[in-house]
Subunit: 365 residues, 4 copies
């Protein structure tokens, strides 16, 4: 069995970086539509793509259809072959026909990549992210080199890292906030087979983290944390951050969590300002199903947020389930990607382990 374990490890290692050949027809471009610079870049990239290969169709955001800077009409008049190949995407199209797109080109910063994750709630096309400024955790390509990058990607194929996403579902108590009820009993007690106590209300696939916190509430939250069918602990804190490895450098960092390489199949659970001395962040396998809820006798609601958006009130008795999503996020890596890539990111972006070099301060000993 040791050998089998070793084999699985090798498989997992390969899976962390899959090489894919692309047969590109439909290219999706994502950029913040309110930023003039980005609109110009979108226009430039679109023209480049339409010119490069007459089989390519390019989808840009529908708000650009009548945008003066983008000037779709001008683009179409440049070359008769462009007509019919310049298309406009809507959120609805992303939700309903994500398989339409062979690749997503994201232009901007890490926030744009998070937005791509939000747009594609189920299947996500491979996302190749260009940075307009310094490279980030998710934006691995320099926009200035886009012609070379895209030519190589379309010709030679791409390397994709499947980043863990969470599927998070809000579960509403059907019990009218009866403060004599016990959430722990309802979820894992003997009577818990009966699933009529809660109803699902909205599912989110998230790339960074789910936060349950006190929201606008001045007092701390009391949050019941469950794993699979067990009650783990009661967290007395400003909140709790349940983070993917990708999210470890975002809010998890601020809450005091460890920095976690994105290839690790783990869930990071960190309290936000725990009102205790003995909370230490924990790292759980991504095969576990977590539930975080508000006790029935809580005096206030808590709030759940998903990748920093979509803040939703959790009233006493409500909870949110968090588990590994069946729909990971395929992030395109540079072809010459190295182990050090992530260490470089945390060193450069977060100044991890940096210190002014001093002359030794024990010079007299």
């Amino acid at each position: 069995i040791s050998d089998m374990a070793f084999g699985i490890r090798e498989l997992a290692k390969k899976l962390a970086q899959i090489r894919i050949r692309l047969n590109v027809h439909n290219v999706f471009i994502l950029a913040k539509a309110h930023d003039e610079t980005l609109i110009s870049h979108t226009r430039e990239t679109t023209e480049w793509l339409l010119t490069k290969n007459s089989n390519y169709r390019v989808y840009v955001e529908s708000t650009l259809e009548n945008n003066k800077i983008f000037n779709a009409e001008g683009l179409l008049t440049m070359n008769p072959s462009f007509r019919g190949r310049l298309k406009f995407w809507t959120n609805k199209l992303c939700a309903e026909k994500p398989q339409t797109f062979d690749i997503v080109l994201a232009l901007g910063g890490d926030g744009t990549v998070l937005y791509a994750s939000w747009l594609f709630q189920r299947v996500v096309p491979p996302v190749l992210a260009f940075s307009l400024g310094s490279l980030g955790f998710l934006t691995k390509f320099d926009y200035d080199l886009y012609p070379t990058t895209l030519s190589r990607a379309f010709d030679e194929g791409i390397t994709v890292s499947l980043r863990l996403r969470f599927e998070a579902t809000i579960m509403r108590s059907q019990n009218n906030r009866n403060t004599t009820l016990d959430l722990v009993e309802e979820l894992i007690g003997e009577e818990s087979e009966d699933n009529h106590t809660h109803k699902p209300e909205g599912t989110h696939n998230i790339l960074n983290e789910v936060v349950v916190d006190r929201g606008p509430n001045p007092t701390m939250s009391s949050i019941e944390l469950f794993g699979d069918d067990e009650h783990f602990t009661t967290v007395q804190a400003d909140g709790i951050c349940v983070s993917t490895p990708t999210g470890s450098t975002a809010y998890n960092l601020a809450a005091g969590g460890a920095l976690c390489h994105p290839d690790n199949p783990v869930i990071l659970v960190t309290a936000i300002c725990a009102h205790t001395l003995s909370f230490r962040p924990i790292i759980l396998p991504d095969t576990i199903v977590l539930r975080a809820g508000v006790p029935y006798d809580a005096r206030t609601s808590s709030w759940a947020s998903f990748d920093g958006r979509e803040r939703v009130e959790l009233r006493p008795g409500d909870y949110v389930t968090i588990s590994a999503s069946r729909f990971p996020f395929p992030s395109v890596l540079p072809l010459d990607r190295r182990s050090k890539d992530w260490i470089d990111s945390i060193s450069r972006t977060l100044q991890w382990n940096s210190r002014q070099r001093q002359k030794s301060f024990k010079e007299w000993s």
Copy 2:
């Protein structure tokens, strides 16, 4: 590919807990031979096993052969069938013929289980660990119930968790401590193909952690950290702790690292008293090969230790490689083992997230 990833995840989940049927012939008993209580328990368990099934052979430590409390001679005279079935193990036998043993019974605390890991440096038989006091992270069975536990284990089979071990090898510089040399250049520079710069000297399979620290040295250490073929960072600290998930509750905890579920395939890297504000513990995949070394221009040596033992001096230019071992540690789990088991361990043993419940202290707001 998402589906494939999902499949791998499921496989990995199953692998985390393998059910094995045992065909028991040779039982290995491990207990601290200098503790009178433990010798009595060893004697009691040995007698119970020899009596229970005439096919069982029981191996106890060779120092017990002439121990008065154990009284081997008395045991053999109790029943003629015992003769030839009571055997004595030596460290050499463990090293050379580990496959001899169908199961190891450890009696004591977590330290005894660490000792089992030390004894079996390559293949490790399944280890079923009885606690004499309160249950620990590795001692999952109450000794008082040993007859029931063993009967069920031998009849119904056992569930085994394969705990990650590291293989750590000391690499000695062959360059006579030439302080003008650059360790980074030697290990990952263009000339690094030539492997004549360092020679291996001793390999250790460890279950908890490898520590490289300043040892008896009063000043801090400077440690170069490499991952695969890259230079990660230079750590200015009292030392560095590279821990398995199993070791996350040992020295890693003291150094400020996160608590990590033992099923996670990760490496925890934590500085010990970093002389910088910006070191944060990092979590790496267990597919990476780490190297931690002493720069040639260091004014002092550092010391490497393996599971808290075997402290070895690393002189300038030396380093230690750390990677996932091909020989994991099969730890026997209770049959009714639950997700919560680990959370219970950290709550009970470390008082994780415990606090005296207070009346709310915002009573006037």
Copy 3:
């Protein structure tokens, strides 16, 4: 000068614990008026005081005047001498004539003592706090022993610790949120002599902490921190906690600050979930004047709160000044008070440095 320094140190030491003889006429009783148990205790203590000495006047909260459980009418009919000596206090009386009261008896928990601090915004009478449950950081006396405690206090005098309070004032920008302005320039730049840029709006004397945070806002805050006439740093975080030593065991603890003995004349500045790896809590002298403000170009407001109450919006350009108050909080200490008192509080209430004693886990080395 060393000797002078030593003398000052001695003086400060004495000041930390002042012995006062009381000439008691007017006793103020403070208890949560919505809790039936506390009303009974208030009634009991009032009767005991009125009976004990015909010179005592007892002030209870005006809401008790017609409270059935307190039954003021019944009390007055018990003894004709009580009439004229049972009085009722209002918030207004506390604000305008705090010198009226020779001593405040607080019944409840630490929250009640915080409330006393809130009621007496300027001069505070000595506060003797009875705990109804386990002793807290501020409730040093067991209510069950109140007759003995009060008799001794009134006869032999009391020992008072003068706890540092902060005076915090909100300063409103008069510049109509002009985002081209620079707060740093306004506060410490060359033009900063002109004090027309900001106007004060409300001052609070607080015992625990001033928090400036993102409030209901989902994104982090950017807070400019000034000390005396210098710009210290820009904090990118969920917020900032500026705590007295008394408050070090409250929100400061949750934010990761050190625990600070209440006698220290210091200000504790701790970021709340700093979005950086290199923020470490700092300890400043209480002679410094701090200012924490929202930059003019901030996209959102921040919120200031005072002892967890009175949340106030700080719009871009606004700031709050924080400095040692001229009105400390005289907390009555047990007569046999010892150095260990505070260590006992943190050990008992926060389980500081507690761990299940283990058998040594290096038993094999």
Copy 4:
């Protein structure tokens, strides 16, 4: 009494920065005598002083008397008036006649200033520290400007900050390591009046910190901590760091302690790698007397070190007392010293609260 407290505060504030007029006769120069550059600077400064005023006597380290680079003979032949005014100091002279010197000029880094503290174990002359590289926590003056700096200092006077030092004394048990004894009982039990149990052995005045740790010992230490006549706690850790505010940026930082402004009259107690989740650094008044000792039943010794030097073994039963010294360290401040000075030091030297400014990463919300 509030007013008195306020007065004391004002006094303390003034004391933090005392203005002194110097009547300079004897100048003491301290620099590392093994560094050629520093010897040249010492020579240069000596010549400048001897030339500047014929009343000045300059003391340099006695090892320079025959040093070729310093070339004392050459110096004396430059000007006949120099003879008799160039003097050589020894450690003995510092220990016995510290009042001889009107001012100490330190050339080097913070380590040189620590060395000055070590040389002057009782009264310390004002120390004006020049940095040869970037300014440090204790080296406040740029060497390149020494003529201006010294001229102003000698003419206009200096501002001195009296930095807290600790007096630490090793107390040896006279009980021959009887493991049945109880250190807690001996130090604070009923029999503790009898002071024959321990004898003092060596006192150190230290500027940064006293560390008691496991030294070369591979297992953790168990340290009993006492404050005044109380037992505070038992620390299970690699060690304990008791730091002055000055030392808060040295080893205390590495152990996880808060950064503390040097004017604060406090003692910082921080565990080094505590083997518990619930240790949090504590800040105590400098009026307390601490004792840290090794229990009689400890299996190993611990080691005490003083400002990183003078490591001394503490055998079971031994302890070290730590209290505010009567001999503070007078550090000369720049005349235009500002509150921000310390914040600048921690920002520049430790990169406190620094982070690469990012474009906001919530750009899509």
